[in-house]
C-alpha cells in the first residue's frame, strides 16, 4: 500500500499549527514517528491531543505546517484520501455503524482496501477474500461469539474492541488509537492492551492514553503534549526523568496522587 521513505519515518509533523478563531490550540507541534514504532501521546486535558489526531487523520486541516505520511504530504486531504494511503484511526467515543452487526461493521471497513470500491454488480457473499479477512479480524479482536450481534447490543468494552477492529480491518500500517482503554476496568484494560499489541504487530502505532500503566507498558517512545506543543519525545525512562515533563504534566499527576493518598490517610487516621 505504501513504502517507507529512506529516512525510515512513517509519520512526520513539521511545525503543525491549528487555531480556532484567535485561539491557537496546536502551537507548532513537531513529531517524527519511525516505521514500526509504538508511540504514546500523553498530556493534560485540553493539551490538544484529540485535535492533533483530527489534524493527522484529515478531520480538520491544519492552519499551517506539514503532515507527512510515508514521505507524502497529506495535510489538507480528505479523511478517505488519507485512509487510502494507509492511515486509520479510532475514536474516543465508539463510532460504529449502529444498525449493522459486528461482522458487517468489520466487513465495511475491509471493502475499500480489497479494491471493491462502489461495486454493485458483485454479491458480498461471493467476495471470498473480503469475507476471509473480516472473519480473521473478528478472531483478532476476539469477537467471534458476537459475530452476528447488532453493535448497539454490545457491552461497552465489546464496542471498544469493535472500534479497534474497524480501525485495523483495512490493513493500514499507521494506526491512530484515541484513548482505546478509557472507561474500562483494570482487568479489561490488561486484556485489551494485549489485544492491541497483537493487532498492531509490525505496524506503526500512535495512541492517546491517560492510564500511565498502559503507556509505560505499551510504548516504545512517549510524546508529551502540553498546550499544543510537543515538549518531550523520548523513551519511557527518559520521559519519566525529564524535568520539564515532571513540572508540566507528570509532576502534577504524581502530586495529585500524593495529595489524594495523604487525604485518604488523614481520613483513615481521624
Amino acid at each position: 500500500m505504501s513504502k517507507t521513505p529512506s529516512n525510515g519515518l512513517a509519520l512526520e509533523l513539521r511545525d503543525v499549527r491549528k487555531s480556532f478563531g484567535k485561539t491557537e490550540i496546536i502551537r507548532g507541534s513537531n513529531l517524527a514517528v519511525k516505521a514500526g514504532e509504538r508511540v504514546a501521546l500523553i498530556g493534560p486535558n485540553g493539551a490538544g491531543k484529540s485535535t492533533l489526531f483530527n489534524l493527522i487523520s484529515g478531520r480538520m486541516a491544519p492552519s499551517s505546517g506539514e503532515i507527512v505520511l510515508h514521505g507524502e504530504a497529506i495535510h489538507g486531504m480528505k479523511p478517505y484520501e488519507i485512509n487510502r494511503r494507509g492511515l486509520a484511526r479510532s475514536f474516543q467515543v465508539s463510532n460504529l455503524f449502529p444498525r449493522l452487526s459486528v461482522f458487517e461493521n468489520i466487513r465495511c471497513a475491509v471493502l475499500w482496501s480489497m479494491g471493491e470500491r462502489y461495486a454493485f454488480w458483485r454479491f458480498l457473499s461471493n467476495l471470498n477474500e473480503v469475507n476471509r479477512r473480516a472473519e480473521e479480524v473478528l478472531d483478532m479482536i476476539r469477537m467471534r461469539r458476537k459475530r452476528d450481534t447488532n453493535v448497539t447490543n454490545l457491552t461497552y468494552a465489546e464496542q471498544r474492541a469493535v472500534e479497534v477492529g474497524v480501525t485495523i480491518a483495512g490493513g493500514s500500517n499507521v494506526i491512530l488509537l484515541d484513548e482505546p482503554t478509557a472507561g474500562m476496568s483494570k482487568s479489561e484494560t490488561a486484556n485489551f492492551v494485549k489485544m492491541i499489541r497483537d493487532v498492531t504487530e509490525g505496524k506503526t502505532l500512535l495512541t492517546v492514553e491517560h492510564d500511565m500503566g498502559v503507556v509505560f507498558g505499551l510504548a516504545d517512545r512517549i510524546a508529551v503534549l502540553v498546550y499544543g506543543e510537543v515538549i518531550a519525545f523520548d523513551t519511557p525512562e527518559n520521559v519519566r526523568n525529564n524535568d520539564r515533563v515532571k513540572e508540566a504534566y507528570l509532576g502534577s499527576v504524581l502530586a495529585e496522587n500524593q495529595r489524594a493518598e495523604a487525604q485518604a490517610a488523614e481520613a483513615a487516621g481521624a
Partner: protein, 430 residues
C-alpha cells in the same frame, strides 16, 4: 429492535420460497380478481411497488429523506410517452415492451444531473434541496407546454409498432403481465443491490457518514451512485405508467405525488426491504378504493400516518416482523386475546370517528341533499342531536376501553419479550 442484523448465508431456502411465492402471486392475481376495477388496481400496484422500493433505496437504506422522488418517475413517464408517440408516428422503432426501459434511462439521466447537486449534502440539507428541485421541475412543467403538454398533458396510443408473438398490448391483461414482469425483475434487482458492496456501504453511510470517510469511502459518491440507481428504477415505473394510462399530465412530477411515495413507503416500513411493497399496495387501495368510499379519505390517511409515526415508526413491516419473532418462539398464542380486545376496541373508536367525520363532511358538502345521511346502511339525521350524542358516547366508550386493552396488551407484550430474552439467554448458555 434488532431489525437489521444482516446475515451471510450463501444458500437460503427461505428466501427462494418467498421469491417463488411473490412470482406466483403476480402470476395468478388477475385470475382471482377479474373485475375491471381490480385489474386497474393490480396494474397500478405493480407500478407503485417499483417506485416505492426505489424510493426506499434512498429513505430506508441510505437515510436520505427525499421530497422530490416524483421528479424521476414523472420525467421517466414523459420520456416514455414521447417515445411512444415517436414509435406511433413511425419515426422510431422501439418495441413497446422496452418503452419502460426508455423511462428508466430518462430517470437515470435526470438523476445523474440533479443528483450531482442533491447528494452533495446529507440530512436536512439534502431534504431541502430535493424539495427545491421538485418545485423547480414542477414550475418548468408549467413553462414548457411543448414537453409537458400543458393542462391536458400528453396522450398517446400504446398499440403501435409491430407486435411480437401476437402481443399488441391492446388488452389490459397484456399490460398487466408486462408490468408484472417488470415488477418482479426490478424487485429482484433492487434486493440484489442490498447484498452488494455499494448497497452495504449505503447502509453504513445512513448509520454513520462520518466514520465511512475514515474507512476509505467518499460518502458523497456513495449517496450519488445510490441516487442514480434509485432514479433509474423510478424512471422504469414512470415508463410503465405511460404505457398503462396512455396519458401523462404534469401532476406526475408534482410534490403531492412525491409526498405520497414518502408517506406510503414509511407506512409500509422503511426498515425492511419488503416494507415498501406493503406500502405500495396500500397506496393504490387508498387512492382508488378509499377515495371512492369517502370524500374524507385524505383526512383518514393523515390520521393513520400520524398514529404510525407516533406509535410504530418502523411501519407495518416492523410490526409484522416483531410478531414473527414472537411466533418463532411459540408465544404468539399468549397474545391473541389481547389482540382481539385491541382490535375490537379500535374498531369501535374507528366507527365513532368515522361517523363524526362523515357527518361533518355531509353538513359541509352535501347540505343540499337534506340532513339525512346513510352510514353503512344506517340512516343518520345530521341535524338531530341523537346521532351526535350517540357518536360522542361511542367514541368516549371506545377510547376508554381501548386504553384499558392497550395497557393490558403492553403488559402482556412486555412479559412475552422478557420470556424471549430469557429463552435466548438459556440457549446461549447451552
Amino acid at each position: 429492535m434488532s431489525a437489521n442484523t444482516y446475515s451471510f448465508r450463501p444458500y437460503n431456502v427461505g428466501r427462494l420460497v418467498l421469491w417463488s411465492l411473490f412470482a406466483i402471486v403476480l402470476l395468478v392475481a388477475p385470475k382471482l380478481f377479474t373485475s375491471s376495477l381490480s385489474m386497474t388496481m393490480l396494474t397500478q400496484m405493480g407500478i407503485a411497488v417499483i417506485v416505492c422500493l426505489s424510493y426506499n433505496m434512498l429513505l430506508g437504506q441510505g437515510g436520505m429523506l427525499s421530497f422530490g422522488h416524483a421528479v424521476y418517475s414523472g420525467l421517466g413517464a414523459f420520456a416514455a410517452i414521447h417515445t411512444l408517440n415517436k414509435v406511433g408516428a413511425g419515426e422510431w422503432g422501439v418495441p413497446v415492451a422496452l418503452i419502460p426501459i426508455v423511462g428508466g434511462l430518462a430517470g437515470l439521466l435526470v438523476a445523474v444531473l440533479l443528483g450531482a447537486v442533491s447528494t452533495k449534502k446529507s440530512g436536512n440539507t439534502f431534504a431541502m434541496i430535493t424539495l427545491g428541485v421538485g418545485e423547480l421541475v414542477w414550475s418548468m412543467s408549467l413553462m414548457l407546454p411543448e414537453f409537458f403538454g400543458g393542462e391536458g398533458g400528453v396522450s398517446s396510443n400504446r398499440v403501435v409498432g409491430t407486435p411480437a408473438l401476437g402481443i399488441t398490448f391492446g388488452p389490459q391483461i397484456q399490460v398487466y403481465y408486462l408490468i408484472a414482469v417488470y415488477c418482479f425483475v426490478c424487485t429482484v434487482l433492487m434486493f440484489a443491490f442490498t447484498q452488494t458492496p455499494l448497497g452495504r456501504m449505503l447502509n453504513a453511510v445512513r448509520d454513520n457518514p462520518e466514520r465511512v470517510e475514515f474507512i476509505g469511502y467518499d460518502t458523497q459518491r456513495v449517496r450519488y451512485f445510490a441516487f442514480m440507481i434509485a432514479g433509474f428504477f423510478a424512471g422504469i415505473a414512470g415508463g410503465l405508467y405511460a404505457v398503462n394510462f396512455e396519458i401523462v399530465t404534469a401532476e406526475v412530477v408534482g410534490a403531492q405525488r412525491s409526498g405520497a411515495y414518502l408517506l406510503f413507503t414509511f407506512l409500509g416500513g422503511s426498515l425492511f426491504f419488503f416494507g415498501p411493497i406493503i406500502g405500495a399496495v396500500l397506496l393504490v387501495l387508498a387512492s382508488v378504493l378509499l377515495s371512492e368510499l369517502t370524500k374524507a379519505w385524505l383526512l383518514y390517511l393523515g390520521l393513520v400516518f400520524l398514529l404510525m409515526v407516533m406509535y410504530a415508526p418502523g411501519g407495518i413491516a416492523s410490526l409484522l416482523m416483531m410478531n414473527v419473532r414472537v411466533a418463532a418462539y411459540g408465544m404468539l398464542r399468549r397474545l391473541w386475546t389481547s389482540y382481539l380486545a385491541l382490535a375490537g376496541t379500535a374498531l369501535t373508536v374507528l366507527v365513532a370517528v368515522a361517523v363524526i367525520v362523515e357527518m361533518i363532511y355531509h353538513i359541509k358538502l352535501n347540505e343540499a341533499l337534506g340532513p339525512q345521511m346513510s352510514f353503512a346502511g344506517v340512516m343518520l339525521d345530521t341535524r338531530g342531536t341523537d346521532a351526535w350524542v350517540g357518536a360522542m358516547l361511542l367514541l368516549a366508550t371506545g377510547v376508554g376501553l381501548f386504553e384499558v386493552s392497550r395497557r393490558q396488551f403492553v403488559r402482556h407484550w412486555g412479559q412475552v419479550q422478557g420470556d424471549i430474552e430469557a429463552e435466548i439467554q438459556r440457549r446461549e448458555g447451552l
